[in-house]
Subunit: 344 residues, 2 copies
């Protein structure tokens, strides 16, 4: 029997947990009834988790509970977390990877603490200069990987080249049949535009571009992130975070205004009868829960951060993301790409 894809889940982190996390687990188990190639290791308060498993009528030999006494609070700072977190569900969840008991960790808890203790426990891959937080964005053809989304607010060309290799490896693990097309986020598409760091990165990525690892497409402006012409978009963590949140804010502004318009009077409400299914499909395509899960790359093991405020459906998608990442051999892909970087 081949080894199963083992996902370590911090069941306690995030709003409305562990109810939401366990509900998400149920959705995942229901969708994967015929699959026997995975195992879910839940970390958290055993009593509570058992109660909620019962509430959702989950009886499965595809999961286990590891009891942990404490939970990382939202107020905990990255600075004190290392000292305070050893008995938490988050810490033990990640630690199970080092012990060889799991392949990937998932948490909806405190982001800052998760980044710090992941880095501390799993340690950085040799030859990677900085780890990065990668996210998934919808685009016209499917989805993009965008990184860094905020792990590193200042980055040099070496970091950005690493991000291109890490992001390409992630893309290949998620979409094995496609070639990663890498672009560098900038304020113009001409070669002379941008900071010195971007120009140096441009030169290095042009030299590294090949059919096996990634194809470098050059600079990309913010308005073309969702065009679908690139599928790995590289930027520093400050810019990436601003871009991601600005996109979220814009999407919310537009859909809120649309909602207001379509419900403002009886006649527009009648229109909804006719457009109901199409609008539902529209909403479904843009549903942020489908893109829930930022992936922390560059450590000796992948860690996925679910949005803290998501619901059971969002959490389900982040479990599914973990499953796909391991199935697509992310760590092997990263290894290949790091060797490429070293010229091996």
């Amino acid at each position: 029997m081949s080894k199963k894809i083992t996902i370590a889940i911090d069941a306690m982190g995030g709003e409305n947990s562990p109810d939401k996390t366990i509900h998400g687990v149920k959705l995942f188990l229901d969708k994967n009834k015929s699959n026997d190639d995975f195992f879910l290791k839940l970390f958290g308060n055993k009593n509570k988790l058992e109660q909620i498993l019962e509430k959702y009528k989950i009886k499965s030999n595809k999961l286990s509970i590891t009891h942990t006494e404490e939970v990382v609070s939202d107020e905990e700072t990255p600075l004190t977390a290392v000292k305070n977190s050893k008995n938490t569900s988050m810490w033990n969840c990640i630690k199970s990877q080092v012990d060889g008991d799991s392949d990937i960790s998932l948490s909806a808890g405190n982001t800052g603490v998760l980044l710090v203790i992941s880095r501390m426990i799993l340690k950085m891959i040799n030859d990677v200069s900085k780890p990065a937080l990668a996210g998934l964005w919808p685009n016209n053809n499917g989805m993009n990987v965008v990184l860094d989304l905020g792990a590193n607010i200042e980055c040099n060309d070496i970091n950005l080249v690493d991000f291109a290799e890490l992001g390409s490896a992630l893309y290949k693990s998620l979409f094995p049949k496609e070639k990663p097309l890498v672009s560098l986020l900038n304020i113009g598409s001409e070669e002379i535009k941008g900071t010195e760091t971007l120009k140096k990165t441009y030169k290095k990525l042009s030299e590294l571009s090949n059919e096996n690892n990634f194809i470098f497409k050059g600079y990309l402006e913010g308005n073309r992130i969702m065009d679908g012409d690139s599928n790995v978009i590289v930027t520093d963590g400050f810019t990436g975070n601003i871009a991601l949140k600005t996109a979220e804010g814009t999407a919310k502004f537009i859909t809120d205004n649309l909602k207001k318009s379509l419900t403002e009077n009886l006649i527009t409400k009648i229109s909804l009868i006719f457009s109901y299914f199409s609008l539902k499909k529209f909403k479904n395509k843009l549903d942020p829960r489908k893109y829930n899960g930022a992936i922390f790359l560059g450590l000796n093991g992948p860690v996925v951060k679910s949005h803290g405020g998501t619901d059971e459906i969002g959490f389900y998608y982040s479990i599914d993301l973990c499953y796909k990442i391991v199935k697509g051999n992310l760590m092997q892909q990263i290894n290949n790409n790091i060797n490429h970087l070293k010229g091996e």
Copy 2:
């Protein structure tokens, strides 16, 4: 008789000009039939402009044509523009401000060249460290000023503080009854987040915050730009440009998908009959042409850059913006704010 608001217009720059620019002039004249407090100075090929004025049946004593032989091409680079542009409509349009013949300049031509020759001809205001390009964004309560949008890709705390004063002056000239509420774009709202430059700027803006010039609201994340809680949002030109273009791309992605959904079959098309007026209002509220016009601030005279690809309606809005800026005494507001900065 008091001096009229005199707007110098480069009638030749941008796509479909001078047809579009003159058509925009017509819309402005039509909307301001009863106003007698402005004058439009058009710069461009006299023959062509007269033909198009005739085409649109424009006969007005509120405008003049100054003949210029050449036009700045889209291919012209900022580096060679100073040498090559002296006989162009753009150059002479801006120069008329120095000669005391106009109060503000408007062009839809080559952005890079416009920034360089504006700076060269008008020169920077003493005590301003860098000029900035400011734009208008829709928000829940009306509109924001956001700057810098790309004039300076790297900025220090002194530049960012200048932008806060310049942006507040612009906001006050546009909305004389409101107090400018300034925020600093960052990747978190806590005081400890962000780069050293941002932390220094935060401290200075906190000290400068007062009822007369601007009230500093602290850091703002990208997802809250459109909330309407701030009305002057300060950032460096790299980040501002990425944020602006990402918002544009996101808006396009969503509205394209919505359009596709609402026209995909006969039933959804029927729904449009019922929602037509509400959707039109929705579209109208978000119409980017209403926010057309980036304002170049920090020089001894304001310059407005219209989007090159906009149409006559967008160009009309940028003429209207020029009119409002001068009517609101932008240069006087800037002078006040610069004195505030100097502690006077």
